[in-house]
């Protein structure tokens, strides 16, 4: 090196390029000269930080139990799905295992069924009898045309989280609320102008009118959806129209709902409004409770939870929102080994208990539900055992059928909901127009590609 430095003066292009050349050579040696670790590599891509932290802690146990296996966990954050898409398109560079988010999976299901980039896990799940051990409705978001491309990470049951103190101050006992009619009656009492300035200061519920999240949750609760099991568009069904009429009425006719503060339920503005007592309730999946705990810990003890109000007495008291799957890609060279890691991260009871402890996410494996942690009082909810409520509701989760057109459909559904709530269109007009658009899109593709695509 000393000699090189001395000779730099004599380098034809001068000192700078000489230094750059040396750095280039060193980094090239570093990159290509790294000795491969002994044994077999399993690459596992993740997009959620909490999942990454969980697996980081647990993977060494798997590696110790499987000598010679090196698991490489890579957390790409929000850009992971685009990277996966690029890797599958180029047929190169995809991981062995990957987690995919529920609103992203649709785009990976386009094309002929045999061209889909994930391994069909149905044979393995059936052979090892895992289907019965999990909540079976949670396979629907990850299934298409009879094949199962992913195993559910979660259930994401939804409850109604409410401010017990403020409802009580309005003379409402929320534990008595069983149906949406009961909720509207309670909400009318609790939605109030406290200072007499003519403006409402507290709303019974906060709902997102810009995206499909709350409306679609309500529709699923009713047993509806955008597509049915066969992929038929059913968003203009009477059930869907009635649900949107109900949703818009909460804002306009009953005036008990406020649009979400900011752009979504996790917006800091929305949390600020909660702290100010402007929001009295929210439809909350298990993961959202985890977010509340980390983002607004100062609200500990102020919330309580009940099952969602039912559409009819005795009806379903929950729905589902969000979700993640784990899948094995077709680029994986050893699917058997990947399957073992999948089972270790998704079906291992101690791991799932630990997951609930850190994220409040209820696992789909029923055998984990009797762990004492799920019955423990939750300080954030004033001592109410929230895990118990989620588990009580979990077996009744509605199915959510997946479709390759979900991304386009959801984008258009957002517009339809906004048009209906802002009274630019009636719910019937908005959903009829939406259904026609999506049907036309599917028909056009079917004309070009045939029904099998």
């Amino acid at each position: 090196m000393l000699r090189l430095a001395i000779d730099a003066e004599g380098f034809p292009l001068g000192k700078g390029p000489m230094v750059m050349l040396v750095l280039f050579l060193i980094s090239t040696l570093f990159i290509f000269g790294r000795s491969e670790e002994e044994g077999e590599d399993l690459e596992f891509w993740i997009f959620a930080n909490t999942h990454y932290e969980e697996y980081q802690a647990r993977v060494p146990i798997f590696e110790a139990e499987n000598p010679g296996v090196n698991v490489r966990l890579i957390n790409f954050g929000g850009t992971m799905h685009d990277k996966l898409l690029a890797a599958m398109l180029s047929n190169f560079g995809a991981p062995d295992l990957v987690e995919v988010e529920i609103t992203s999976i649709g785009r990976f299901l386009k094309g002929a069924i045999d061209e889909i980039g994930f391994v069909d896990l149905r044979p393995r799940l059936e052979r090892e009898s895992w289907m019965d051990k999990l909540v079976v409705s949670r396979f629907t978001p990850w299934s298409y045309r009879g094949r199962i491309f992913g195993v559910p990470h979660d259930l994401h049951p939804v409850v109604l989280l409410y401010r017990d103190d403020l409802f009580k101050a309005a003379g409402v006992e929320m534990t008595a609320v069983e149906t949406w009619d009961d909720f509207i009656a309670a909400g009318k009492k609790a939605t109030r102008d406290l200072d007499g300035d003519g403006k409402i200061d507290q709303y019974a519920i906060v709902l997102d009118r810009r995206t499909e999240s709350d409306y679609f949750s309500l529709l699923l609760q009713q047993g509806g959806g955008f597509f049915d099991e066969d992929g038929t568009v059913i968003i203009d069904s009477e059930l869907a129209i009635e649900t949107l009429e109900f949703f818009t009425a909460l804002f306009n006719a009953h005036e008990i709902a406020t649009p979400v503060y900011g752009t979504w339920h996790g917006d800091p503005s929305n949390f600020a409004a909660m702290q100010d007592g402007k929001i009295l309730s929210i439809l909350a999946p298990d993961w959202y409770v985890g977010i509340l705990k980390s983002q607004v810990p100062q609200m500990s003890g102020k919330w309580k939870a009940i099952g969602m109000p039912a559409w009819q007495p005795g009806g379903r008291r929950t729905t589902t929102r969000g979700g993640t799957m784990i899948g094995i890609t077709k680029q994986c060279e050893n699917p058997d080994r990947a399957w073992e890691l999948l089972k270790f991260t998704y079906f291992d009871r101690p791991g799932l208990v630990n997951r609930y402890e850190t994220t409040r996410i209820i696992p789909p494996l029923k055998a984990a539900w009797d762990a004492p942690i799920f019955k423990e009082p939750d300080v954030y909810l004033g001592g109410q055992p929230l895990g118990e409520l989620f588990i009580e509701l979990a077996p009744d989760l509605p199915a959510r059928y997946q479709n390759p057109y979900w991304s386009e459909a959801a984008d258009l559904l957002n517009d339809a909901i906004f048009a209906a709530v802002t009274e630019k269109q009636t719910p019937r007009e908005a959903l009829t127009e939406l259904a026609e658009k999506v049907r036309a899109l599917i028909a056009k593709d079917a004309g070009r590609w045939g029904e099998q695509h």
């Binding site: 799905h81 685009d82 898409l85 599958m88 398109l89 047929n91 992203s104 785009r107 990976f108 386009k110 094309g111 002929a112 061209e115 889909i116 980039g117 009118r209 810009r210 995206t211 649009p259 503060y261 900011g262 752009t263 979504w264 917006d267 800091p268 503005s269 600020a272 409004a273 100010d276 402007k278 390759p404 991304s407 386009e408 984008d411 957002n414 517009d415 906004f418 048009a419 593709d445 070009r448 590609w449 695509h453």
Partner: protein
């Protein structure tokens, strides 16, 4: 075996030297062209070919000729995205650049104190990543708790900056002004400092007032800088993506914040319509090319001095 002689050695060296001289320039520029071909040339041609196909899944494609282009021209969301993008571009040219020029003139004036601090203050927003700008302005524009509605209730009511369709693009434009005006100010400032003082002195001798000096000396002298800033800002505006994508949560409500590049991204990555996305890319390329040529022509850049 040929034995080199003293006679033919210098000739051989000269020949070799001549050959090296011919090849050397190509070797020097080869890395650029190699990288250009791999990272620009091939993708450009590939995307042009792709725009003539409809792609489905990861392997299937069908030749549709100009079908994607005709579909695009009949697509209402594309036109809405184009309108939004044009709205932003016009807002940038009519609001952001005059503000940048005004700031530059103020900071170039002898009468303003603390110029360095002010320059840094106006330039600083450009150092903030677009994602963070969007997150910050999400709070600023919040309908009920945001700074704008809390402190400047100039319209006599709470405005749903990001919740009502008609206010979404103005909110994006204002955010763009905050972020980029200081950056463009630096270009104008550099241009102003390059104008010879003698020109102003001559104008003063001829009896020109401040305004006349500005119109007849400053602006003509700044013409190349103005042309550069206009064209670069216009191209940047037409490529707008990250700011509205985060600020409006993907263009919501009702695609009021959707831009051409956002629509391209959605089609390519969310809807897996790669051929259609490539078509949007090429249409955007032609729009940028045409608009830039018109701008440069109007600003007289092609005119011989």
């Amino acid at each position: 075996m040929k034995i080199p002689t003293h006679h033919n050695e210098p000739q051989g060296i000269i020949k070799n030297w001549n050959r090296q001289q011919k090849i050397a320039p190509y070797l020097f520029i080869a890395p650029f062209y190699l990288l250009f071909v791999v990272f620009m040339g091939y993708p450009l041609i590939s995307s042009l070919v792709m725009s003539l196909y409809e792609m489905r899944g990861f392997q299937s494609r069908i030749f549709v000729g100009l079908g994607n282009f005709t579909d695009l021209f009949g697509d209402p969301i594309f036109w809405k995205s184009l309108r939004n993008t044009a709205y932003f571009a016009i807002g940038t040219l009519t609001l952001q650049l005059p503000i940048a020029l005004l700031l530059a003139i103020l900071l170039n004036s002898k009468f303003v104190k603390g110029k360095n601090v002010l320059r840094l203050a106006f330039f600083a927003p450009v150092l903030v990543a677009g994602v963070f700008v969007a997150i910050i302005f999400n709070l600023v524009y919040d309908q009920r708790a945001g700074l704008v509605n809390q402190e400047f209730v100039i319209f006599g009511k709470e405005i749903g900056w990001l919740n009502e369709e008609k206010y979404v693009m103005p909110a994006v434009i204002l955010t763009g002004v905050w972020q980029w005006a200081g950056f463009n100010m630096i270009y104008f400032l550099a241009g102003l400092q390059g104008i010879r003082q003698e020109l102003y002195e001559a104008a003063a001798v001829d009896g020109a007032n401040w305004w006349q000096a500005f119109i007849h000396v400053t602006l003509p002298s700044l013409r190349p800088v103005i042309a550069f800033v206009f064209v670069v800002s216009m191209i940047g505006s037409l490529q707008l993506f990250d700011l509205p994508y985060i600020l409006t949560n993907g263009g919501e409500p009702a695609d009021a914040g959707s831009t051409i590049v956002m629509y391209l991204y959605k089609n390519g990555f969310q809807f897996m319509r790669l051929g259609y996305a490539a078509t949007i890319g090429w249409v955007l390329f032609f729009i940028i090319a045409i608009v830039s040529i018109i701008q440069l022509k109007l600003l007289g850049i092609f005119r011989e001095e």
